[in-house]
């Protein structure tokens, strides 16, 4: 979806506040972090669904609120959507019915975190693009989740690496479907992204993009 989370190239935010060197500034942020991870371990949704839930926060609210408010919004949304808690329970804070799910045992957490959740998959087909090849990102504007930011859509770049096939987030976020898609790292020149006139001198941006986002560039 085209919304406020897609920040690359937006103007007007002013300088970066470098004094914000910590990850947590309030105790409740730690709680939101811990609760989000703990609920994630229940296996009722995947990381792409979490990201999509946060992106659906109303755009003005997203921009006005802090990072862990995005997480809190996403967690509450998923808990309700997946039927783990009711709106009534969330608003009252009072438990009506015990869940049939069991929490992950605390002693198993280190091993689960250590394992992580690799997303590499066996591809269904050979990669369409080769390292060094000039490609163009398709111009597309899905209303659902995508990991192709707006600033590279329609732009041309060169394949700098092929990372094999990973779970395709655009489908994973919608139906939990694990479909493989070849993942490439693409190098874009600053002038191609922002226009020669507006680019801040020469630099390059490297972006990880899935094969369905790409087409061979018209040379």
């Amino acid at each position: 979806m085209n919304s406020a989370h897609d920040l690359g190239g937006m103007h007007g935010f002013g300088n970066i506040d470098q004094s914000q060197r910590e990850n947590f500034t309030h105790k409740w942020e730690e709680k939101v972090f811990g609760l989000t991870l703990a609920c994630g371990l229940l296996g009722q949704w995947n990381l792409d669904e979490s990201r999509y839930a946060r992106e659906q926060m109303e755009a003005g609210e997203y921009l006005r609120s802090s990072y862990y408010e995005h997480w809190l919004h996403g967690l509450e949304k998923l808990l309700i959507e997946k039927g783990l808690v009711t709106v009534d329970e969330l608003e009252s804070g009072r438990c009506k019915n015990k869940s049939s799910l069991s929490p992950v045992a605390v002693e198993n957490i280190p091993e689960i975190l250590g394992r992580g959740s690799p997303v590499q998959m066996r591809p269904h087909s050979a990669p369409l693009f080769q390292t060094g090849q000039l490609i163009q990102v398709k111009n597309f504007h899905p209303r659902s989740h995508t990991r192709a930011p707006r600033y590279i859509r329609g732009r041309s770049g060169r394949v700098s690496a092929h990372y094999g096939a990973h779970i395709f987030p655009d489908l994973h976020s919608a139906r939990g479907e694990k479909r493989p898609a070849h993942l490439y790292n693409i190098r874009f020149e600053a002038g191609e992204l922002w226009g020669e006139q507006d680019a801040e001198g020469r630099f390059a941006v490297y972006v990880d993009l899935f094969e369905p986002y790409l087409q061979a560039a018209e040379v």
Binding site: D6, L7, G8, G9, H11, F13, G14, N15, I16, D17, R21, E22, T25, H26, W28, V32, F33, G34, A38, C39, L63, R64, S65, Y67, E69, L72, L75, E76, L84, V85, L90, G93, R94, K98, L101, S102, P103, V104, A105, V106, I109, L113, G114, G116, S117, P118, Q120, R147, P149, Y151, Y163, H166, N185, R202, F203, A204, V205, Y206, V207, D208
Partner: protein, 202 residues
């Protein structure tokens, strides 16, 4: 003028209460074990952090073969050093040279390589950094006190998939006699994000 986004859109009391209610509810429903939250926070507050990444960097500086493995298969090389897991399942390490300076951002959310760097600083998650890193990286670096010559190519890595990036900074001149342990102390988190260089004072 700095990023004027407030800390939160609701009052701190309001949101604290909301989070407390949520925790009570989730524990009450049996969805979250009472100690789980504290343990998860403790893990990323106290166990996992940029010291891990600094160790990897110092090892690469002192062991050319390890450096080669790190640049060709970062996930395996980092695991070999004892670091792996969530948000580091697929790693890439990008090397700064005399002619190339790398920096890392996630414009769409705030992806970050947890096993080597811990959790990101708040500025990394700010609208300003996410918006500007891919659009005016030299202005951003300059804010961080880093002025690069015209002959240095800036490369910005936008973490849009599950690949996580860490910068291998340049080893400062005159530190060749230091041990890996001593070198690791020089390597800051910001240098591994790519918004700082490694200096000779720790």
């Amino acid at each position: 003028m700095t990023d004027k986004k407030p800390d939160h859109s609701h009052s701190p009391d309001e949101i604290e209460q909301r989070v407390r209610n949520l925790e009570n509810l989730l524990v009450g429903k049996g969805l979250v074990a009472p100690q789980a939250v504290d343990q998860l926070v403790d893990t990323y507050q106290n166990e996992v952090g940029p010291r891990n990444g600094a160790h990897v960097v110092a090892r690469a500086w002192t062991d050319p073969e390890y450096k080669e493995r790190l640049l060709s298969d970062a996930t395996a090389a980092i695991k070999e050093s004892g670091y792996s897991g969530r948000q580091g399942e697929h790693m890439q390490v990008v090397e700064n040279t005399e002619r190339v300076h790398n920096m890392v951002v996630c414009t769409l959310c705030s992806c970050y390589p947890w096993p080597v760097l811990g959790l990101p600083p708040a500025w990394y998650k700010s609208s300003s950094y996410r918006a500007r890193a891919v659009n005016e990286p030299r202005a951003v670096l300059s804010e961080f006190g880093l002025e690069l010559g015209e002959d240095v190519e800036v490369r910005v890595w936008d973490s849009t998939a599950e690949m996580r990036y860490m910068v291998l900074p340049r080893q400062p001149e005159g530190t060749e006699h230091l041990s890996a342990t001593e070198l690791a102390k020089l390597v800051s988190r910001d240098a591994m994000i790519g918004v700082a260089l490694v200096g000779t004072a720790s």
